[in-house]
Chain length 344, copies 2
Amino acid sequence: DPAPGVAAAREHLTRMTVPPGALGGVADLGVRLAGLAGTCPPPLPEPAVVAVFAGDHGVHARGVTPWPQEVTAQMVANFLAGGAAVNAFAATVGAEVQVVDVGVAAELAPAPGLLPRRIGPGTADMTAGPAMTRDEARAAVHAGIETARDLVVAGNRLLVTGDMGIANTTASAALVAAFTGTSADQVTGRGTGIDDATHARKTAVVAEALARHEPDPADPLAVLAAVGGLEHAGLVGFLLGAAALRTPVVLDGVVSGAAALVAAALAPTASHAWIAGHRSVEPAHTLALDHLGLAPALDLGLRVGEGTGALLAVPVVTAAARALADVATFDAAGVTEKNGGDAP
Amino acid sequence: DPAPGVAAAREHLTRMTVPPGALGGVADLGVRLAGLAGTCPPPLPEPAVVAVFAGDHGVHARGVTPWPQEVTAQMVANFLAGGAAVNAFAATVGAEVQVVDVGVAAELAPAPGLLPRRIGPGTADMTAGPAMTRDEARAAVHAGIETARDLVVAGNRLLVTGDMGIANTTASAALVAAFTGTSADQVTGRGTGIDDATHARKTAVVAEALARHEPDPADPLAVLAAVGGLEHAGLVGFLLGAAALRTPVVLDGVVSGAAALVAAALAPTASHAWIAGHRSVEPAHTLALDHLGLAPALDLGLRVGEGTGALLAVPVVTAAARALADVATFDAAGVTEKNGGDAP
């Protein structure tokens, strides 16, 4: 039997003044929100906040991207000054932006909107050894759990994942390969738009890391420590924390998708709280979504990261909840049902 | 050479603190908005209003749907009472709802939010003769032009199309077949979710109408009069009026797509103002979008009509404009550009 909220939502959908089935993916989202809340209509998922987990990567030294490592800290400053794409998109949908420093190489000055949860100055090079110790990975996961808790305690009812970290699509590719059983060739994408030579080098680096660690998905924390990033670890905790608080969380692109694979391996039922915001152009993202069984709300060819794609899905999530709360039933609205009896 | 706004937007996109090309379809939308406005950044497309054109259809008598014709007027009352899906979605994105009566069979009492632009009590049966006279079709087009003008004069900066009319996917299918050169089998969909027998009857009715009128796309007004609906005609004018006012308009599903084919045949350059909000599950909608060369922002499996899918795309359109206005350049934000020189 479905959960109480799920059954109530499905039943209510048959009485709403909408043709049966016509709400498509929006109805599916509404049912999921009702199931998560255990009641129908589910509470409106407002206000929303995007948590942008930021960290640096030792594998940057291997030449996997033409962007200098200091861009991570520079972009964090840009987020805090309100000048990045995530700020523009968050303003559009009425979401707050919080940046979580889990491991930016440069020391960051305290600032409004910056949550200091620094575990260290970035990861080590995954091709020379594990990117993190098991303790570091665990500490970053805890920082993410705390972030979810803090943001929900502050009154937020919808969480959104974001990320910043030069070279973090390399770590994402390795994580996705480990959890989906795919190869470096299949998972390694163009990231910020790298050229063929850099893409070949990046693919070889991912293959080298996988060969060195032979990551075992049965020990998800070990995989995370071996080839993940501190922002991945923070997102793992954020996703687990949101689920524990029965608060829906909208996933952004490949970095969030890679973190979700780790989190699902640690706690399979947690994925009930997760909504795929969009499909990025990174090949590893589609592999991750398919493995997780999540259908993305949007497919706009984005590959910005930061939480941008997920933010654009926030109104879709809100509309799903609002439809269940606000749309009149045929009876209440005095609308005649179709001939031929019951809705399917 | 591209228009001034287009060139400025493309140049600005290379300097924004986003990896080149990473904004995907959102960047494309921003460029289109800048081209329409003739300047970059384009004005923010706020506030938004959805105009729900409502009309009835003589072809309803042929048994193309199990929904009684009076549901059109009942749903209009539901819109005006705030109880329909279009109201829930409009509230989510901060849009106003206006209903335009271009030809509901029942007489509607005056009400706030209802624009009385009634041409007649619905169309005639397209399988027995033309659905409208040429003068009726022209009058409904004019009503749509006036609606666009009135809503822009009232301060709206983004228009959204909506529709209500039991049996209007039948008329839409016939219009799409006429303008795309496809057959009744290819264009006739399930509408509100009809069963196999009704679908077969509906397909035969569309084929019969096409055989009777042999609509000639070189005379778009004649095609509209022969097999269209009054709400299609109103939408044709709305789309032309929006374009003449250089105001972007977000298209909803198959009814809007069919109207857009008529409008594009009358004035090909008008499509510069049109943004495809979503892809509905109706097969004729995809045929119409492909013919128009419009890429839908969302693909959520919706088939509600009313403007619902287009409303969910409003934040994507707003984000596209806001990104061009608000995102800092590399220089201004002090963010280092990637090694290896210029952005592509």
